[in-house]
């Protein structure tokens, strides 16, 4: 694997960055928050992203996709992170889309994947429940066969972009105990189905998240019975790496703004950037960010190229741990170095810090990932 952008990737990165910058970066997120938008994103911008083909980036060309990979997907999410753009790229395209492409029947792909690529519909993945400490195997929602169909019962929490989705990919238990890795199956539950109630969860970053209560709701099996675990785990890894791209974009932007502030703000008759206490902390952040760039590239390319599961887990866990730690470090430091003005709502740094905490705690924080890395490496 080569850790460098080829000319086509460099072009895509530039297009994505120009696009994000064209749509009032950060201000747009602030406005959606002020409007208390429960959808949390702009359907018009989402539709433009579909027109550019980005909703089809990782999918095969015969499905209407662009036939690219995670190496390209992270370029899109990185630009979105830079601008705090809240569109459901990761949840609908990378997370739910990967699952439908991997497991769906021809009919399911026609019903869900093609409209996703066209920007007409979107699915959200409801894989988690409350207090399960990121473990996808910890699943108490059940699915039972009734009259030849499946009925799901349980409560899924923290469903990313779940509110106002056209449907959800739900992980439910079809055999085994609450924490068994085997015995999890995946189902598509369409919005509006009897017994499926989705409510908005207001979070610190003002994005779309929801709780999905299932009371005997009908679900359509996606993939085999009891065999959803490995596919879910791989899709989570793909979404995790896309999220690492978003964190990298955020970190770069927050850092750039901070360096700019250090070069202009004066105290004690000097630019505060002349103070060595701040210089060294800035230099240390620079090093951490350079490491983040490498691990995001490495993990994305591993997902595109490598079939070995333990190597995949090691690279993804490493990327998520590193980006989680760095996004917290850099947004905390950015606020500290901005001083009092950083604490004001009017200043953007706070928006980066709030989103950083959400990213850190989505798909497993650094300590969860270290444990996962160690397990994958056999210690």
């Amino acid at each position: 694997m080569k850790l460098i952008l080829d000319p086509a990737q460099a072009m895509l990165a530039k297009t994505a960055s120009d696009f994000a910058n064209k749509h009032d970066p950060v201000d747009r997120q602030r406005q959606l928050r002020n409007d208390k938008s429960e959808l949390g994103y702009s359907p018009a911008v989402w539709s433009e992203m579909a027109d550019l083909g980005w909703t089809g980036i990782p999918f095969a060309e015969d499905l209407g996709g662009l036939g690219m990979g995670m190496a390209e997907a992270v370029l899109i999410s990185e630009s979105m992170g830079e601008a705090l753009a809240p569109e459901p790229f990761i949840s609908a395209v990378i997370f739910a889309g990967s699952l439908i492409e991997a497991l769906g029947t021809t009919e399911q792909k026609q019903a869900w994947l093609q409209p996703t690529i066209e920007g007409q519909k979107r699915l959200a993945v409801a894989h988690q429940e409350q207090a399960t400490r990121f473990d996808p195997a910890h699943c108490t929602t059940t699915a039972e066969q009734v009259d030849g169909g499946w009925r799901l019962t349980g409560t899924k929490a923290h469903v990313i972009d779940g509110y106002d989705a056209n449907g959800w990919v739900v992980a439910a238990r079809t055999s085994g105990g609450d924490r068994d890795e085997d015995g999890i199956s995946l189902f598509i539950v369409a919005a509006g189905a009897n017994g499926a109630t989705c409510t908005h969860q207001a979070r610190v970053d003002s994005r779309n998240a929801s709780t999905l209560v299932l009371a005997g709701a009908p679900g359509e099996l996606l993939g085999g019975v009891d065999g959803g675990g490995p596919a879910l785990s791989e899709a989570i890894d793909r979404a995790t790496v896309a999220l690492c791209g978003e964190m990298l974009g955020m970190v770069r932007e927050a850092f750039e703004r901070t360096i700019e502030y250090l070069k202009t703000r004066e105290q004690f008759g000097a630019k505060i950037g002349t103070f060595q206490a701040l210089q060294h902390r800035a230099a240390e952040m620079f090093v951490e960010i350079e490491l983040c760039k490498s691990v995001v590239m490495g993990a994305a390319r591993t997902l595109d190229e490598d079939g070995d599961v333990s190597n995949r887990i090691a690279q993804v866990a490493n990327a998520k741990a590193r980006c989680s730690d760095t996004v917290i470090l850099v947004t905390n430091e950015a606020l500290q170095m901005h001083g009092g003005v950083g604490m004001t709502d009017e200043y953007d740094i706070g928006l980066f810090m709030k989103r950083a905490r959400v990213c850190e705690l989505t798909f497993g924080d650094a300590s969860y990932q270290r444990n996962r890395f160690a397990k994958a490496q056999g210690f």
Binding site: K2, I4, I259, A283, E290, L291, Q315, A321
Partner: protein, 393 residues
């Protein structure tokens, strides 16, 4: 078969046919690596043959041009050679500051005549080099160095003292920074010159370190002489050359962080495992995972940089990042290994400790110098903040 695979199989056959039996399996024994020079004095006499055989193939400096005794190999071929050496657990054909520091500097800044004169002696292992940079009063603030070189016809006469000159007690020649102008900006009065140490005006005294070893020396110059033709770059323009060489040095020290002992294996040996295979001490297990992940991230960053350089990017001040992070990583690793070995990691000598444990005590102590030599960690952070980030002052 691709060209690279052909090269691999030819190299493999050659190594198997030519490598001395006494050096096979000795890759990790520092005494088995030939260092060359006028009076090498090897523990394994076969080192001398190994050096000559490797040098004749151009394998001591695989990527250097063949006209200077290099191998003229591509990076890919050089890496194949390295893999094959590792596979047979063979030491490289030569090591030292000639290859890692002054050689690359001469390739970049030397005149044709200087290259002709010095590079073949480096690739052939004929001359062993040491570095004369730091002085008792010029450490982190290197540019304040005072060792004076005064012109006398076609020679310079040198007086002063260098310190932390690694391996000076075994070296034949020294590349050093001298003061040739005292007025004006201190960086603008420095000259980079090559000096033969086989003369009365040069005296070397080893320095004993906390690790019990003496890898460094103090080197005194009293009316020592060097030809003006041995100045690299311009007279009073040595600072530019000095900085380029520091980049090579930082890359070398940063590269030393490459993992040797497997930490998870060490953990299994000293901490034991739970029934599920996880290391029995959950806190140290987490620290080992952090260490392994940091090393993986650093490795990916080194690779990313190498890929960028291959595609035409010029190496710049960000080499400070590799020096800074690589050495900090190595030091943390040594400390963690001590924590894992617990009180078995405290041995100094004699019975009660395995050879590995005793070696590691010394390695930990030695590693404490990593963040000082080649520019302290703080100096690297200064370079990053000023030259990479453009912070003022």
């Amino acid at each position: 078969m691709s060209d690279l695979e052909t090269f691999r199989s030819e190299t493999r056959s050659w190594l198997e046919a030519n490598a001395p039996d006494a050096l096979r399996g000795k890759r990790n024994d520092p005494e088995a690596v030939p260092w060359g020079g006028r009076n090498p004095n090897y523990k394994y006499p076969e080192c001398a043959d190994w050096l000559d055989l490797m040098a004749a193939k151009g394998f001591t400096a695989p990527t250097w041009p063949t006209e200077y005794g290099g191998g003229g190999l591509s990076r890919e071929e050089a890496s194949v050679l390295d893999q094959e050496l590792m596979d047979l657990e063979l030491p490289p054909g030569l090591t030292g500051f000639g290859l890692s520091m002054i050689g690359p500097t001469l390739l970049q800044y030397g005149t044709d005549q200087q290259k002709q004169e010095h590079l073949p002696n480096i690739t052939g292992g004929k001359i062993r080099w040491c570095q004369g940079y730091s002085e008792p009063n010029a450490g982190s603030d290197l540019a304040s160095l005072a060792s004076a070189a005064v012109r006398d016809g076609d020679e310079f006469v040198i007086n002063g003292q260098k310190i932390w000159t690694s391996g000076a007690d075994h070296a034949d020649c020294i590349f050093m920074l001298t003061r040739t102008e005292t007025s004006g900006k201190k960086q603008a009065g420095i000259t980079f010159i090559l000096v033969d140490m086989d003369q009365d005006g040069v005296e070397v005294r080893p320095i004993l370190l906390v690790s019990g070893a003496s890898p460094f020396c103090e080197t005194f110059f009293r009316n020592a002489r060097a030809k003006v033709s041995n100045v690299i770059g311009e007279i009073n323009g040595g600072w530019t050359v000095a900085k380029a060489l520091l980049t090579f040095e930082r890359n070398m020290i940063g590269g030393m962080a490459a993992a040797r002992t497997s930490l998870p294996d060490l953990g299994a040996e000293y901490l034991g495992r739970n029934d599920d295979g996880s290391l029995a001490d959950p806190i140290l297990r987490d620290e080992i995972a952090q260490m392994e992940m940091d090393a993986l991230s650093f490795g990916l960053t080194v690779q990313r940089n190498a890929d960028a350089v291959k595609s035409g990017k010029q190496p710049g001040p960000e080499s400070s990042m590799f020096k800074y992070y690589g050495t900090e990583l190595n030091m943390r690793r040594e400390q963690l290994m001590l924590s894992i070995r617990e009180q078995q990691g405290l041995g100094w000598e004699g019975d009660g400790y395995s050879t590995d444990e005793l070696v590691q005590t010394r390695a930990w102590l030695r590693s404490r110098g990593n963040s000082i030599e080649g520019g302290t960690s703080e100096v690297q952070l200064n370079i990053i903040s000023k030259r990479v980030l453009g912070l003022p002052g």
